[in-house]
Symmetry: D2
Subunit: 339 residues, 4 copies
């Protein structure tokens, strides 16, 4: 923690800051400059809000030196984390892992067709929602709970795929664990701390999506919640942030991929379907994410998007997914990886 | 729903859009212009995503004409909603209602001191958290559950105040209802649709905070979730949005106050404590919100902010709160209202 | 300048940073902590980009301790700047100064009617453009150059008003100085450094508008350009920033008013016309700005906005301006000021 | 132009809107729905501001149907524009064109070393500033005017490169034209309409950078300024927008590349140096831009970035540029293009 005093700060102002730092458990180093007095504090930085010092009389600015996350920090595992599944699939290694499927399970036949289709083109994980709600109270709720999970598992197993599905409430975790290999936390729940704590105690790996208003630091702080509960198998996911540009639903922050790689050891994938909201932008943004270093992709595909129960506008048609996989193989090879 | 076709759209493209509109239950009116063909659809607009049409071949743009919310729309109750409590307090009428108190209940003595202080200066509602979690997994959890609620209620009753407290999970509602007059939904939960649905069935009025990345339309859509469940006593709250300006934690969007007044009949208050994150900005922004037409304020006050368990940097000191109330009375009178 | 080294930085990394700091003219203080080595540099901070250190091997973060602006800093004139005009009008003192008028000079008669109208209601400065261009190449250019300036001056003089008008190019300054009391720099030119340098040499006070993507720090840095040229009579102006909220054209950042008051000694006014883009939002936002501490307002008014040459949607009608001035007097008095 | 009336609009309100549309030169089509009356207007949409209708009594919303740009619209040249230079180089065709060089010309020797280096690795255009100013008034101005242009030209010619350099003022165009093949408009000048008009009359192709707060539509409207002056050789450039994420200086909006490809016929390249501000993010973002469909790149390279006069933090080292070109060749081939 570094506290920079105003040019006009009095000795009393300085002393009050020192007292507050000491009280909070810091040891303080004072350095008096020509213009500013600077106080450096060594101590429990993670639990202190710099704003508490910034509102004190005579304080100009306050910086945190240690990152507020520790277990998610690159320095904790400089070699990088590889999340490994029972069937040997590894996320965060050399292989770029494609997770694909429809917005939600609609029927046994629909999810079987999806599984067949994505497996044939090279995806390794089947995605589909089982409990999803939408932002309009007048839209029909999607998915049919445990029945949907059962169909999802069956379809995935038939095609040797793993299963990823979204968990929206801590109360659903126990129900989902037997059916799901990777528990997905949606962007809206990135700061649902009750849910994150509960996932810290799960044996299942977690896919944590970045909130649309979250900085990379806040994403890592949410990951820290899960890691600090003992669950080290966390995969991050970029899916677009909110900006003033309204042509695309969100703006995919492709640069967050190399930024996460520098700050953290956790794998990061991208979701170009939610990141753009429009089918015709999914292919270029999927290629961009892989070119920038993503460890995988989460893509919405539907055998007949025009009649999908939801997210139809952003779901790829089967032939588009086939084309995408072909393009991605070329990009992966250009960056020294495989699919 | 209005669908504008590309300059180069074929007759087949146009027909496909018409077919999709009809299938979705719309009656369609076609108008062929010099450059663009325009299709107007009358039908179930609320449940349709314009993006579904925008990805179709030959479509330039698609606009929704009806707002996606109905019950929250100004035209539903042009005279405006006044939320009335058992003790006769009215939010949304001529009186500007001040809700104040600490971040969380720390002890019987602390909450009693807060209640005494805010009641003396003219606040009508006591605020404090009972279950709050912070964004760092290493900070101590705050509040002590039902015990905290009991202390809060007792302190409020002693000073004839109502109680507002945050509910973070649908499972907590039943526990809170006996103690709390106004259930607060925090910014992070504005799109927690499970929670919103459950609150639609509650008998208690709800204070719904705007999410930091939510447009005003999305705020009204979240309100619609509660209203459509049968609970019409919803008060909205502006508390800052995320922008590129980093000096304040968030940027309070004061203009959302007159915008909500135009689009909706629901009362709207402002939270300058969370909106700025810094004690020295609370007074000017509180004045600005009232000058712009807010129906009330939610303010953090603490008898000793330097030793508060949380949010100390944004909590007013007692003498600042006294000064604030004095200034607000002048502003209220200038806009023809009372406090 | 403070450079924080990575946890894993080598001694060689540290030495390279020290060498670069010394080369740049800094004297360096090293402090070795349990986890991070921290280097404090005292020297020519304003001319150094922290990013230059952040890309070095082993560096975690780099902070600038001194603000990059000096003359615009509050500590340079703690008592605050009052810009005083020849007729005795003072901006930055106790009086809140209203500047009002049409988007541009349309005719001798129109500007005379505007001057009469705004003077009668209590404005002290007449605003109107003489050279304005719009964002569409197909709109007619507005204003008629020097003739417009002459009409503007004449109308203002007849009603004892001062004149403010926008300068868009350094080449226009000499032409405008004889007619204009306050040279306005538009939001789009906030970082037109050629123009700022030229205004630093002018004898006329300057009104500098915040760019729609500019932080407060960048606004002050642009002011510094003018101040460092010897022109100390600079007034700042908040007029909205670009955010994801699309209902209003921009989002007025009312909190920038108290922020500027803390960081700088320069007066700050607000422009609710450009800040909202819609007539019906001008009154509430004008009141909010004054309640938050603005030293004045810049407002568009037109005798017949429906037939204005431009900005009609955001121009007040005469009776609205009269009502606004009445409301503002009440607010001003509530915050201890006059109009 | 489509104007949607409020549910409660009176017949008089409707008539006033119709009158205003007719007066503005529109022919009007009225359609009365169950809830809303909708007015469709065919006429001079480009010169009308929808906000003018939105502030009228009884109006709910107003949409522009025609894009405000015509010449920049994809439908104007569906086959796409290829900008062709005298030496045969084509931008917008199958070849991805790399433009590289230092921030500014420092000396004859420096620019010669740069030219040699970038030509050897496969760049086709040499970039360097000759007149650049920085955002701090205390930084030394860079470049030495015409002398710099002469050195730049000479170095480029020696290595068969074209020259791109930034023009900051209409007054500089004539001076630059003899030395420069491609005139660059910086992000800060994207809405400097005087400059855009002057470039419309130039014989030189123009590279137009997107402003950090500009939507894609506004970028195309600025291009329209140049096109409407008769200069059809415009290349667009994405270089990052301002968002709440502060880790990178700006957020590169990679999705703008496919969006521009859909909306316009103009070529678009990307500037990962300014887009990220940090050398270590340039490689991944350059790869991402090419993978997403960019027609070229503008990259800062310096033989010795640690001693560059400016932008050192974002300039690649020579060996990094070599590595980048190698990676880009793989990506280009994966998307069916060449470098």
């Amino acid at each position: 923690m570094i506290v920079v005093m105003d040019a006009g700060a009095t000795e009393e102002n300085v002393q009050q800051v020192i007292d507050k730092l000491v009280l909070a458990g810091f040891s303080v180093h004072r350095s008096t400059g020509a213009v500013h007095t600077v106080l450096g504090g060594v101590g429990p930085t993670e639990t202190i809000d710099p704003a508490e010092f910034e509102v004190m009389e005579g304080v100009k600015e306050c910086f945190r030196i240690m990152s507020p996350y520790k277990l998610a920090n690159r320095s904790f595992r400089p070699q990088g984390t590889v999340v490994e599944f029972a069937n040997g699939l590894r996320v965060g290694g050399n292989e770029i892992v494609i997770m694909a499927g429809p917005w939600c399970v609609e029927s046994e036949e629909q999810i079987e067709r999806c599984a067949e289709m994505v497996a044939r083109d090279g995806a390794k994980v089947l995605r589909a929602g089982a409990f999803t709600l939408t932002s309009s109270p007048y839209s029909a709720p999607a998915g049919v709970g445990e029945d949907a999970l059962r169909m999802l598992r069956k379809a995935a197993d038939r095609h040797s795929l793993l299963v990823i599905s979204e968990v929206m409430d801590a109360a659903e975790i126990a129900l989902m664990e037997p059916y799901v290999d990777l528990l997905q936390v949606g962007a809206r729940n990135m700061e649902n701390f009750n849910l994150l704590r509960a996932l810290g105690a799960s044996k299942r790996p977690v896919l944590l999506k970045r909130g649309i208003a979250a900085t990379v630091e806040e994403l890592l702080l949410s990951a820290e919640y899960i890691l600090s509960g003992g669950n080290y198998n966390v995969i991050l996911c970029e899916r677009g942030i909110r900006t003033f540009e309204g042509y695309t639903r969100h703006t995919m922050d492709i640069s967050s991929i190399p930024v996460v790689k520098k700050l953290s050891h956790l794998p990061i994938i991208a979701d170009p379907s939610h990141g753009t909201g429009r089918r015709d932008k999914v292919l270029p943004m999927a290629r961009a994410a892989v070119a920038a270093g993503a460890d995988g992709l989460l893509v919405e595909v539907h055998p007949d998007p025009d009649h999908a129960l939801g997210d139809g506008a952003q779901s790829l048609k089967p032939e588009q997914f086939t084309e995408l996989m072909k393009q991605l193989r070329g990009i992966a090879s250009a960056v020294g990886r495989t699919i």
